[in-house]
Symmetry: C2
Amino acid sequence: MTEPSRKVSESTVRRLSLYLWVLEELGEAEVATVSSEELAHQGGTTAAQVRKDLSIFGSFGKRGLGYSVPLLSREIRKILGLSRTWRVALVGAGRIGAALFEYPNFRDRGFEIVAVVDTDARKVGRLWDGVRIRHASELEDVLRESEVEIAILAVPGRAVQEVAERVVSVGVKALLNFAPVQLRVPEDVVVNHVNMAVELEALSYALMNHPREDSSA
Amino acid sequence: MTEPSRKVSESTVRRLSLYLWVLEELGEAEVATVSSEELAHQGGTTAAQVRKDLSIFGSFGKRGLGYSVPLLSREIRKILGLSRTWRVALVGAGRIGAALFEYPNFRDRGFEIVAVVDTDARKVGRLWDGVRIRHASELEDVLRESEVEIAILAVPGRAVQEVAERVVSVGVKALLNFAPVQLRVPEDVVVNHVNMAVELEALSYALMNHPREDSSA
DNA sequence: ACATGTGAACTGCTTCACAGCG
DNA sequence: CGCTGTGAAGCAGTTCACATGT
């Protein structure tokens, strides 16, 4: 069973993804079985949380024993929708785009980049590992031809809202946005953000408010 | 006043960072004043949330009017600790590292990359915009010499825990980790993660469970 | 009149603690 | 006996609604 018994929170989904990383590492190390305790430790959370997260989708463990590593891996893959391949477009072939394209974990996890577009005429026509870079003016055609399901937006902030609208206009329902801009999209489109500036600024805040090892003592 | 009156949540900090992006855009457009309503709209949240977030740190608005764009920008910069410069090291000069180095928003926001290290002997010695790439074996020395406060870890997953420990050993208290691995660090060290795989997998989950526009009707 | 600032209500995530089962 | 699975309790973050101030 992989039918959630209740509404699933965003954070639960993210943790499942983390558990999967841990499980695959354990799998490579030929570990057969793992406790919620151990999974929690390596995944940066608590044992109770692990059990709660998993229990939403079913009972995958054996009492007194723990979870079978290969079985739980398989179940989480199913839950997250990673037992199929997703067709992904990369919009923007700049530095970030290039880095993403090379990121080995994407393909391993079933995300196949089937289309790349850019505005830079010098890049258009080049082959990136078998994928020909097309011009951004053809964006809609490319997305349709390649039957793209997920678009990664790696374009400058000022361009991203317009790009998002064009992507959405051809029926793409999932976006991963790297620009530091909040996208406005229709309700039925899911957007996730990777905002490195926000993460750095959160660090800045933390440093400010946790002055090194206290000097008042 | 920028003293928080109460415990500040992680999410509040992240939203402040987003508000700041919006405010700076408004500032460039010469907008003088903005309501919580408008800030919320552009920042992807609600008006009440905006007011709550800001009220933790003080009263920056004028009733009946809204918030002064330049004033609020300045206040949020102060709150987030962006009125000073942070000395940042980039550990790992691969694709992701290169992309980060070029990311213009970092420098604009006061994050200055003052050191770069890599394990690849061919890269060592090269100058990246005035910063010489040093060998990873010298990591600790480099961090000390350059008085690094924040380390960006852009190294492969299998290496990142060891790198983190070395970075922490010389007193760096803030890490931004790009590897899909949960880091174990001492309590007084802050770690933020940028995990593109997790974001993509969350999209996958969302797509699975929100089949396009329902076919049962 | 209008938009902020905020206590109070609400919602939902996390933690606890233990019953259930291998 | 050990570890999972889970209702119940606790807590944190969000939303509501209005008093406050300009």
